[in-house]
């Protein structure tokens, strides 16, 4: 029986990288969004420019479950011959196969338990267009049109989106709309429309927006007052810097002079990028870089310097699959320990861990306040799933009354008023000293910044006592960071629950659904989402309050569990890891199955990676 579902299905597009499918697929997804149905689109793409297979998956979920669903898709738009067999094999029983029937499909290539919908797309486009590139691009638009007919998507909404997309280019609007109609009309005559899978107008989206985490993070840097961005291209973080550059071009040009209120430099490597950020932070600008794991590895020495010399630095780390070059286009949460303890010697750094684009915006903006307040590096830990996929999220908000916290910077006037200035002296008991900026007071407040040990007055020394004094003050400063960092967020089961699930970052997208699946199975669980390192003492309280605690992570080595034991003194025996690290986003099914399996009285078989 073909699947019957309205506003609750997964459609997967199998395309060839570089074929222009991305914009057509986005158009498709946005049309559903405009009809008010929640969607979660995800790219699954290779580290390649042209030719390799790429997939785009759209989950439609009236209930608002927006993590990757896992399992097979309900509908496949098979536009890549290379992966056809494996794509068809992965289709759910009762699913729909939509393919280009210009060339006949050998019976061995399909299945008996799915519905097959063939449309001669290449033939249709060949008849209509003579230019080969146009044939390819408009073939994409034609299948979007056909899908609109098959899934009952309002074609008017698609036309409206095309008009917005190509605003001011009337010829393109007309040409795209025509291709859309070509597919739509042909599908209407060829098939009984709509299918069992349907999109229906809904109010479920509300005023939410659809946005990529990397763009949101760049927007956070813009609103957070970043004036210096130094970066080096690396997947999956490149679009943070590029979005920042575009935003700055729009919002940071002085209307009177045309001068830019920002400096963006593409550095020669990640080491130079972080070096520039450290130099700018030292000199009083809000500066950041965006990178990924390999970049953080290269930057290590500078993180030690910034920690020890106490220079504000903001780093957006969009995590990908490691180690080494690893899986550049797959997602993981495997840089936690790398960033938390970056560089040699005793170092500890502040991590902010957003759950999606909304917090990516908030936390990136807040990172500049925290970095200047604490005079230390602050990492914003995104991952590829958050950064490079579009997520439905609450609209961005900003309070116009909000002022930047520039931290403890002594002005020339304050320098005149105080009795003495000690750059590394803890005046307020919070471990954070006062600093001065170059170029301020003509005769007071100059000091020498160095990575070597020094006393409270920034004088070089290797004596044990001042060294220990300084290191202990830095440890005290980390406790101040613990108080300032965002607190964890609790999702309560409502009634007292013996099961507690600790999670963080992009896992949040799957967690509500996982909790619902568990509740359906009679396993009520509370969930606590960690949002920062140093860890809140509330996390230890949560662990103590539950009989069985699971820590869900997207890495192999249970890095958050390690942080929980080292930073909070928790007993690792009290924490059961659920680890998903194959590079695809974690799914609710995986979490729920893993929790249920570990709660079975008999020894359960090990949970294997869900590879779909």
């Amino acid at each position: 029986m073909p699947i019957e579902a309205t506003n609750d299905f997964v459609i997967r597009f199998a395309n060839v990288n570089g074929s222009g499918s991305a914009s057509a697929n986005l158009l498709f997804a946005k049309a559903i969004l405009r009809m008010g149905a929640p969607i979660a689109p995800r790219n699954i793409f290779p580290s390649n420019i042209q030719g390799l297979p790429t997939w785009y998956e759209v989950r439609v979920s009236e209930r608002g479950f927006l993590g990757a669903r896992g399992g097979g898709a309900d509908m496949l738009v098979a536009m890549n011959a290379q992966t056809f067999a494996q794509d068809v094999a992965a289709l759910s029983v009762g699913g729909y196969l939509f393919y280009d029937s210009t060339r006949p499909l050998p019976p061995t290539m399909t299945r008996g338990d799915i519905a097959v919908i063939g449309m001669p797309l290449t033939e249709l486009c060949a008849a209509r267009y003579s230019d080969p590139r146009q044939r390819q691009l408009y073939r994409n638009m034609a299948y979007v049109g056909a899908l609109a007919a098959l899934l009952d998507i309002e074609v008017g909404v698609l036309e409206e989106l095309i008009a917005e997309r190509f605003k001011g280019k009337d010829k393109l609007i007309e040409a795209n709309a025509r291709a859309l109609r070509l597919g739509f009309d042909d599908a209407k005559t060829r098939f009984a429309c709509p299918l069992g899978l349907r999109v229906r107008r809904s109010e479920a989206v509300g005023d939410r927006i659809l946005v990529e985490g990397n763009y949101a993070s760049a927007l956070g840097a813009l609103y957070g007052g970043a004036t210096v961005c130094a970066w080096y291209p690396i997947t999956p973080s490149t679009s943070v810097a590029e979005s920042f550059e575009r935003l700055a071009g729009r919002y940071r040009v002085d209307p009177a002079t045309g001068g830019k209120n920002v400096a963006i430099v593409q550095a020669e490597d990640e080491i130079a990028a972080i070096g520039m950020v450290v130099g700018a932070g030292w000199n009083g600008a809000r500066a950041f870089t965006a990178t990924s794991g390999p970049g953080v590895s290269l930057m290590q020495e500078f993180f030690g310097l910034a920690y020890f010399a106490e220079v504000p630095v903001v780093v957006v780390d969009v995590q990908r699959g490691g180690p080494s070059t690893g899986m550049p286009t797959r997602t993981q949460q495997s840089d936690l320990i790398l960033c938390a303890f970056a560089s040699h010697g005793d170092t500890k750094h502040v991590l902010l861990i957003p759950d999606g684009p909304g917090e990516a915006f908030e936390f990136t903006a807040a990172a500049f306040d925290l970095a200047e307040r604490l005079q230390t590096p602050v990492f914003v830990m995104l991952d590829l799933d958050i950064g490079m996929n579009s997520h439905l999220t609450e609209p961005f908000r900003w309070d116009d009354e909000r002022l930047y916290d520039r931290g403890k910077v002594l002005s020339p006037r304050q320098l005149d008023e105080i009795v003495e200035f000690g750059r590394y002296k803890d005046v307020d008991g919070d471990g954070v000293p006062y600093r001065t900026l170059p170029g301020g007071h003509p005769t007071l407040g100059a000091y020498f910044t160095r990575g070597t040990s020094r006393d409270r007055y920034a004088r070089y020394t290797e004596d044990p006592a001042p060294y220990v004094d300084n290191m202990e003050r830095l440890a005290l400063k980390f406790e101040t960071a613990r108080r300032l960092a965002p607190a964890p967020v609790l999702t309560s089961a409502g009634a007292p629950a013996p099961i507690g699930i600790v999670h963080f970052g992009s896992t949040a997208a799957a967690m509500d659904e996982a909790l619902a699946l568990l509740a359906d199975a009679g396993l009520a669980a509370d969930a606590l989402r960690i949002r920062a390192f140093p860890l809140s003492p509330d996390i230890a309280g949560f662990v103590r309050a539950h009989e069985r605690v699971f820590v869900v992570e997207q890495n192999r080595d249970a890095q958050m569990k390690t942080l929980m034991t080292s930073d909070l003194g928790l007993d690792p025996a009290d924490l059961t890891s659920i680890l998903h690290f194959g590079g695809s986003p974690i799914t609710a099914r995986f979490i729920a199955d893993a929790v249920a399996a570990r709660l079975k009285p008999a020894a359960a078989p090990p949970i294997l990676e869900d590879v779909t």
């Binding site: 210096v228 400096a263 520039m276 950020v277 130099g279 009083g284 310097l305 170059p438 301020g440 003509p442």
Partner: protein, 351 residues
């Protein structure tokens, strides 16, 4: 070498500059380098140049990497902020500082190991970008703090104190700087203060990337027979290709030159340098000619010193970036934050 502090006492009639500062005000703490180190002479030349230029000390930022040379910013300009960063990475830190505040003068102090070995990449790129700065390499051809290993500027065939011969082709930082777009490139000798001080003064007035490679003998590890960076060797092989007379806009001085012998160049800050060509053939504004000169001297084993190349029509980093004239570190919410209304419009575009 010394462990004593500098005496605070000042003679009442000690000369002051136009800002009312004495030379002492441009000094730093006592040097801990070896007695006779060339680097201390360079420090003295920098102090001298800044005093005579009457640079407000707090408007200079001094940055360095790691090594003997990189320690010297502690010994100069005690009223300036300093940053002793990490090995070979001073150029990026200086670039970032310059991005944050374009109004200060930036002095980068580095060594041959810090620049030509570990830091060669950053050196190249900071020159390419045209960062407005004075970048000095205190070049002695060896690693001093780790006791005498060769650096990448050691001449092929020169001998280390322990008797080893440098096997690899040396890196000529001046040639590299010219090739990569530095617009003020000079070479000098720590033992020739008369040449070095005017070069430094001119470099501070330059509106782009100014680079000075200063041969600075290491008295402990590279001042022996067979070294090409020893005092004796450099004195014997030094040929000055140009001489500078530095004239600030404030103190007009009449100097007579034979026609054609001197070239007057007005610097960005209004000062003038008179450049006397000692090598009649050399054209200072010709990049190819400067490189040819360096190559010719390499063949003959001579060390050409003085200003080698100057391009005063400069596009420096902030020009390229189109940055606002105000220092970026002085901008506030009003200039930086687009505000709630703009955010609402952004939200609308994402639905």
């Amino acid at each position: 070498m010394t462990f004593q502090g500098k005496p605070k006492f000042r003679h009442p009639s000690i000369p002051t500059n136009t800002l009312g500062f004495t030379r002492r005000d441009y000094e730093g703490s006592m040097s801990t380098l070896c007695a006779g180190c060339g680097h201390d002479s360079i420090t003295a030349a920098i102090v001298h140049a800044c005093f005579e230029l009457a640079l407000p000390p707090h408007r200079v930022a001094k940055l360095s990497g790691i090594g003997c040379s990189s320690k010297t910013p502690t010994y100069m300009l005690g009223q300036s902020h300093g940053f002793n960063s990490v090995h070979g990475r001073m150029p990026s830190v200086l670039t970032g500082a310059y991005l944050a505040n374009r109004e200060l003068a930036y002095l980068g102090v580095s060594g041959d190991g810090d620049t030509a070995s570990i830091g060669l990449g950053q050196f190249c790129h900071v020159m390419r970008r045209g960062v407005r700065m004075v970048y000095i390499v205190e070049n002695n051809g060896v690693y001093g703090l780790t006791k005498g290993q060769f650096s990448a500027t050691a001449d092929r065939g020169s001998k280390s104190k322990k008797g080893a011969r440098a096997a690899d082709e040396p890196i000529d930082l001046a040639a590299l700087a010219i090739q990569l777009g530095a617009t003020f490139v000079a070479r000098s000798f720590s033992g020739d203060k008369g040449q070095l001080v005017p070069l430094l003064k001119a470099a501070f007035g330059h509106r782009g990337a100014a680079f000075i490679d200063v041969i600075s003998p290491c008295v402990t590890f590279n001042n022996h027979e067979g070294s090409t960076k020893s005092y004796d060797y450099v004195r014997e092989h030094n040929i000055a290709v140009s001489a500078l007379d530095f004239i600030t806009g404030r103190e007009p001085i009449e100097i007579d030159y034979a026609e054609g012998a001197a070239l007057a160049v007005t610097m960005h800050d209004g000062a003038t340098i008179h450049l006397r060509k000692l090598d009649a053939e050399h054209d200072f504004s010709d990049r190819a000619a400067a490189l040819t000169l360096l190559e010719r001297c390499r063949e003959t084993g001579e060390i050409p010193t003085g200003l080698l190349y100057l391009d005063d029509d400069v596009e420096e980093l902030h020009d390229t970036l189109g940055t606002t004239a105000r220092p970026l570190n002085a901008l506030t919410e009003a200039e930086l934050c687009p505000g709630a209304k703009a955010l609402e419009a952004i939200n609308r575009g994402l639905r």
